[in-house]
Structures are given as C-alpha cells and as structure tokens.
Symmetry: C2
Subunit: 450 residues, 2 copies
C-alpha cells in the first residue's frame, strides 16, 4: 500500500488546466482577460493556456465569442443540458411571482422536497437546503461532529469537498502548501492501484488504519466522507459494493458515513439516481449540489430526523437563500426533465457506448493505461506508454488543450493529475460521444510518444 | 461597562419570533405545515405563532394564500422591491443564454465587477464572488488569518455573521448552548448603553481590551469584524465615525478591520452606498450578500490584490456557482434600478420620515425607550415603561404577532431580543411608512401596560 499522504502536492489538481497569469501576458489593456485579472486578481482561476470567452450555450454545446462551438464534456452542473427550456421557463416564471426565504411557508419548496425525498432512502427523511455543495458538506461535518462527539474525518487522498474553511480542511486536493488539520486522515481511493484485487477489503482496512492513526493523536472519528464516485481522486466506480465494508468500519469505530453526492448524484452514474446506491449502502448523511438546479445555486443535506434534531439543539441552521421558491422551481424542473427525457437511462446507455469506444482506443494506444467509470462519469488515465506506474500529467494537459483546439471541453483529475475527467451533460447523444472519442484519438495521434 | 459575554443566551435571537413546533400542532395531516415539519424537521425555522403561506409578492407587498396582503417591513433581500420587473427580465434573459462558472471568460461577470468596484474604495480592487454572505465571511476570515498569522477574532456580543462552521464561531447570537471558540472575544456593540456618551472612545477601548484577553490566551488577532450597522445587536448607527478608532486599534495590534456589509450595504443606510462609509473608515476587507442580486443567491468579498494574493498562495478559492453570468446579470439589474429609481436617496428621505414618526410615537408611549437607525434600517427598543434598563422581549414578540394580525411583517433583534428590526425594501413610500407606524401605534394601544 502507498504511504499515507497528509502533505500537499506542488500544484493542486484544480489548477492542472489553469491559465497561468504569471507566465503569460494579461491581454491588451481593456481586453476581457485584462479586466478579469484586474477584477479578481490572484483568485482568478481560468481554464486553458488561452482562456475562452463564452457567449451562449444550449444542450451539450457552448458558443464562444469567436463563433466557435464547443462540445461540452466537462460541465456536470448543466446536467439536463445548458439553458434547458423547461428549467429556463420555471426560473423565469417563479422569479416573477415569489422569491423569498423559507421562514414563511410556500408550496414550491415543499413540493420540491417531497419529490427529492422520493429519490432518497426513507431513513433520510429530513433535508436541509443550502446554496452550494460546500455549504452542504460544511453542515454535514457539523451534524456528524454533534452526533458522535468525535472531531476526526477520514477522506481519500485527493478528495475535494468544497471551499469553506471547514471543508477545505477535508479537501487534500485543494491544498497548495501546509498540511491537513491533525483531525484529518487520508486513505487511497478505492479502485486505485493501492488495493490490488480486493478493493472492498483493502479500503475497509485502510479506513480502519486511518481511524487508528487518529486515535494515536487522541482524535475520535466523526465520519468517513466519500464522493461516491471519487471524482477528484480519478473516478473510481468498480466493483459495485466496495463502499459498504468501509461504512461498516467507520460505524464500528463510532463515526458516521457521509456520501458526498455533489458530483455523482442526480442520475449521472446511469445505474442509479445516487452514486452510493451502486454500493448497496445507506449513508448516514447525503450531501448534494452542482446539478441539483442545473446552475441555479442550490445544495442540500439529507439525514435522519434524529441527527438533524441533535444538531439543532446546539446551533440550528438557517440559510437566507437556501430552498427559496425559485431554487425549488428550478430543482423541480430538473427532476421533470430527467424523468420526461429518461436521462438516467440515457446516461447509462450512452455511457456504455463511450466507455466501449474509449476501451477500443486504449487497445490501440498504450498511453491510455486505464478507462473506467459509470454512466456519464468516466476517467481515462494517461501514462508513459504501457506503464500505469508512470502517470503523465504533462501529456494530459497537452491533450486537454489539444481537445480545446478540436472544440471539445474537458478537464483533469487524479492524485497525479493524469486522468481525463469525462462528464458531459446527461442529454449527450451517441453521435456527440463519438465526436469526443474521435477528437481524442486525433489529438493523441498528433502527439506521438517521444 | 457590561461584563464580557462569551456564553449564549437561552434562546437565540434568530428564534425570537419562531413558530414553536413543540408547543403547537403541526397542522392537519397533509397540510403544508405538516409537510414542512416532516421535510425539514428540527432545522425548520418558521416565523410567527401561526406561520404564513406566501404565494406572491411585488414591490413592498406580499400576498398570502388566504388572500391577505402584507406590507413587508422585514425583508432586506428584495431590496429594490419584490419581483422587480427589470431584475426579473435580466434573470429570465440571461438564464436562457448562458449560466456557467467563471473558469471561462464571460462579459457579464466582468461588467458587473467593474460596476460594483466603482462603488467601493479604490484600494479594494479585487472582488471574489460567492453565493452567500456566509461564504463571503468564511472566506474573509481565512484571508485575514493568512494575512496576519493571527487566529483571533473580535466581534460584538450579539453579532451574526452567517452559518458555516467558521462564521458560526464568530456569531454569538446563533449559539443555543456551549461557548464561543477560545479564539473569539466579544465586545458590546457601539451605541449600546455600555459606552455612555463616548461611543467611539469606548468602543476602541473595548476592542483593545478584547485583544488583551485574546493575548492572555496566547491568541494573536486576525481581525475585528463588524456588521457596520450592528443589525443583530439591535441597530446602532450613531454617531457617524465611531468605527474609525476601533479600526485603528485592531490594526495597531496587527489585525485587520472587516466590514460585514451583508445587511447595511447596497444603499440601505440612505447616507451612503456602504455602511462603513458613514464612519469615515476604509476597511481592509468588505463582505456583502443579501440584497446584492435581489434574491438570486450572491455574495462577495472585496479586498486589496495583496491580501487576495497572499491567501491564494496557500489555498486559492473557486466557487462553482459564484459570479455566474445569471448572478452577474441580476446584480447589474439591481444597480440599474437603484440608480434609475434613486433608491439610496429614497431610503434616506423616507427613512427620516419613518424615524420622525416613530420618535413622535415614542414620546407618547413610555414602552418605546429607543428609536434609532439610518435610512431604512431602524431599531425600536421596547422595555418596561420608561425604563431602558428593563428590556421586554415578551412585549416585542406580542407586538410582532400583533403587527402580523394588522398585515405588517417585522422581526426582532438585539442582545435581549427587545428591538424591533425595521428594514423594508428601499422602494418604500412615505404612505407605506405611515401604514407601518399607524399599525404599530394600534398594536401598542391594544396591549396596554400591565
């Protein structure tokens, strides 16, 4: 097994494909790029060596200011398709009628919660709505801390759970320097090489080891929190069921199991509406965000009434914008579209097609050392030819920019930043899937191994 | 001076006017109230002994399911008026064109930031956009910690700065039990009785004392953070300038001064676009939220490029929904409306009118022991007749529910929950202001002193 990782890498994965302001001109005075750098400064994170100005988007396609149209294989927020007319109409209608906090009753919020809860395990019958996945994970950490009395968290070694102070502490992939809090321990992601063929048993043992390391520092565990498709770790989905023994292990140690569904939730994995459902485990807490309202800011935490009540004894929770009627209307429209257009089944079927084509490409190109995923969330490892032990993040960055030149948008993930992160809107067609694989093949062909 | 307060009161101010689920029936099975309690559980916070179901809103008025129309004197989010057509149109148009994160360039976000920055001190030329004021304050705390190396925060004793783990720690008004973190010290709000006639000097001395108490625990200060109109403390606006010496004091001790403009910002105080501007002080960091996009979730942090750059050396910041083109379009529309309708001047003029009428009422009713504020943010203290030393939160709750019966929406604030918090949309007319004061007079007349 790989050594425990508690220190950051030189370059956070989030920045793998970043425009490098220090290494490039900011653009001519008055240009959009120059204004951007002046407005947001060092906190500006732009994609690509040459950033793209977007002007519109529809379905799986985005249009840039220079008239080029890009196939979106990156953005998992506009999950039912960019600017879907049903969602647009729901937002436009509701914002003209009522947009207010939830301290008054309104039927839209409860209609949404009833619909959302029908997708969740019955035990998780309370849902607290937030505006972002970060807020949801921040709240989930506090619920777990109150419920267990523990302060410790176990996370995977390239996890990303958000951007507040608390959730940054459980997001090793976001750290540029310094170390994680002493209340946090990391484990290799299940499915990574660390565990060989016994993914479920290896991951359980790793979680038990992390709990012991925490105990060695006098820290009791509050929770194991996992993105149930391990997006930032590099996309690990198989074999189904590998999460269940680890969830048992953290519970045996007095902690909770939190499923972070911000990325895999809302039908993306094709096989199920929630990522955890593929693993035959019922989490103690489920958090959600990104695709929930197709881009309208919305997140949420589902838990049992008992957990919510125990948290509310000490602090309680109110979010001014969380669960407002416009968010609820947008969220309802997303569920409508997913059902009407069969997007979970589409994600499954088109996902299998893209996976098959990528595996065929992998058989021809030894630099593709791994292809895996579920539904429309797929990871593609790029390494030195034929050697999965030698990740090639430089090639990955080159491929991402090469795909940009071929009008396909994509990003990277993984502890070494060498995994292409494939996650188009769920309305993707087979033909659009083919366009991506063809563009990837063409890009790789234009970059022969040194 | 009052003793230092680091322990919570029995009932958080946020809950002063809460529907008491434990003490009332949840409504008939299938009712909206019963569904709400089942959906959100203990985290549900509803206003009023009998919660109101809202169905629509326009301008300063909200319509309930039973057909009654309520004059909104509570909600400072729909600041240019509920469902303002210009904002509605901007959101509807933009959501149909493009709604995406800021890792691609888009002109709407930069157009908004250019407009927003024109309202801010020139030194604070970087703005990082978030979805909520809580996220903004959470980020501001981390920027201050990175910049100073200190971990300590000084806040007022009934402050509220948001709902993440970190900002809950600097929000004494949100605590139900337990104690604040040892890195946090509280001071009485400036303008409260604690300081007598020397508000500026007393507040400076109190901040210096808090820094000394932190030092006694080995904690260096990161920042003094103040809501610049002290909303949750009970609304303290005068005399203008009282913040400047305290800001000097925290800087002399190595900390920063953070102005939390989530409530007073965006023209509410009438005299200025930002609350801090009345105090002749330039903050090191300004945070904003609530009215920024009239209800579309949006927040932000303004700081110098140097502070932002130092923070980004360690972590950096990216917010999936923050600063998206729809939020930007909504924010731009809010600034358009404020300018076109002269809302800052309206807040000033109508605010003076409401203040004058409330003071006249106070002269007739000895239970009103204080009336103060700026623009359309006014606090009205209710106490035992003629005795400002005996706050009467029970009367305050009765008055809030009495105003509800008279179709006026209002809330409470203050360390003892005895201050009516008056903050209608900024488009309020004199006649609507009169309706409120008349309803308050009628409510008080119906509740003669015991």
């Amino acid at each position: 097994m790989e050594p425990n990782v508690r220190t950051p890498r030189a370059r956070p994965i989030l920045d793998m494909n970043a425009y490098d302001a220090a290494g490039a001109a900011a653009g001519p005075a008055g240009s959009l790029l120059a204004r951007r750098q002046a407005n947001i400064g060092a906190a500006s994170v732009l994609f690509y060596r040459e950033p793209i100005e977007m002007v519109s988007a529809r379905g799986c396609w985005m249009e840039a200011a220079d008239g080029r149209r890009y196939l979106d294989f990156y953005n998992n927020v506009p999950s039912v398709g960019h600017a879907h007319p049903h969602v647009v109409e729901a937002i436009a209608r509701q914002v003209s009628v009522l947009n207010i906090h939830t301290r008054y009753l309104n039927r839209w919020t409860e209609d949404y919660l009833d619909r959302l809860k029908a997708t969740l395990p019955a035990a998780l019958s309370n849902v607290v709505l937030t505006c972002t996945g970060s807020e949801a994970n921040d709240l989930a950490m506090r619920i777990a801390t109150e419920a267990t009395g523990g302060q410790g968290f176990v996370v995977t070694e390239a996890a990303y759970h958000g951007n507040t102070l608390a959730v940054t502490g459980i997001s090793p992939s976001a750290l540029k320097r310094g170390a994680l809090p002493t209340t946090v321990e990391t484990v290799p992601a299940p499915g990574s090489a660390a565990y060989g063929n016994d993914v479920a048993g290896g991951f359980r043992a790793a979680v038990e080891g992390a709990v012991q390391r925490l105990a060695g520092r006098g820290v009791a565990p509050a929770a194991l929190i996992c993105d149930s498709i391990f997006s930032s770790d590099g996309v690990f989905a198989d074999p189904p069921g590998f999460l269940a023994p680890a969830a048992q292990a953290i519970r045996a140690a007095g902690g909770l199991f939190i499923a972070d569904e911000v990325q895999p939730g809302f039908a993306r994995t094709g096989a199920a509406f929630w990522g955890f459902a593929r693993h035959a485990v019922t989490p103690d807490i489920v958090t959600m965000g990104k695709p929930m309202a197709n881009g309208y800011p919305m997140g949420g935490v589902a838990a049992s009434p008992d957990l919510v009540a125990r948290f509310c004894e000490t602090v309680g929770y109110f979010n001014t914008f969380g669960g407002n009627p416009v968010a609820a209307a947008a969220g309802l429209a997303v569920l409508d579209v997913m059902e009407a257009e069969g997007l979970q089944e589409n994600a499954r079927v088109v996902g299998v097609h893209v996976l098959d084509r990528l595996r065929a490409l992998s058989a021809q190109d030894p630099r593709i050392t791994g292809v895996r995923g579920a539904g429309l969330f797929i990871g593609v490892d790029l390494c030195r030819p034929g050697d999965p032990g030698q990740p090639d993040p430089e090639l990955t960055t080159t491929v991402i920019n090469g795909l940009r030149d071929r009008c396909v948008l994509i990003g990277a993930a993984g502890r070494y930043g060498h995994t292409l992160k494939v996650r188009p809107p769920l309305c993707l067609t087979r033909e659009e899937g083919d366009l991506f694989v063809d563009a990837l093949a063409d890009t790789l062909a234009s970059q022969p191994p040194a």
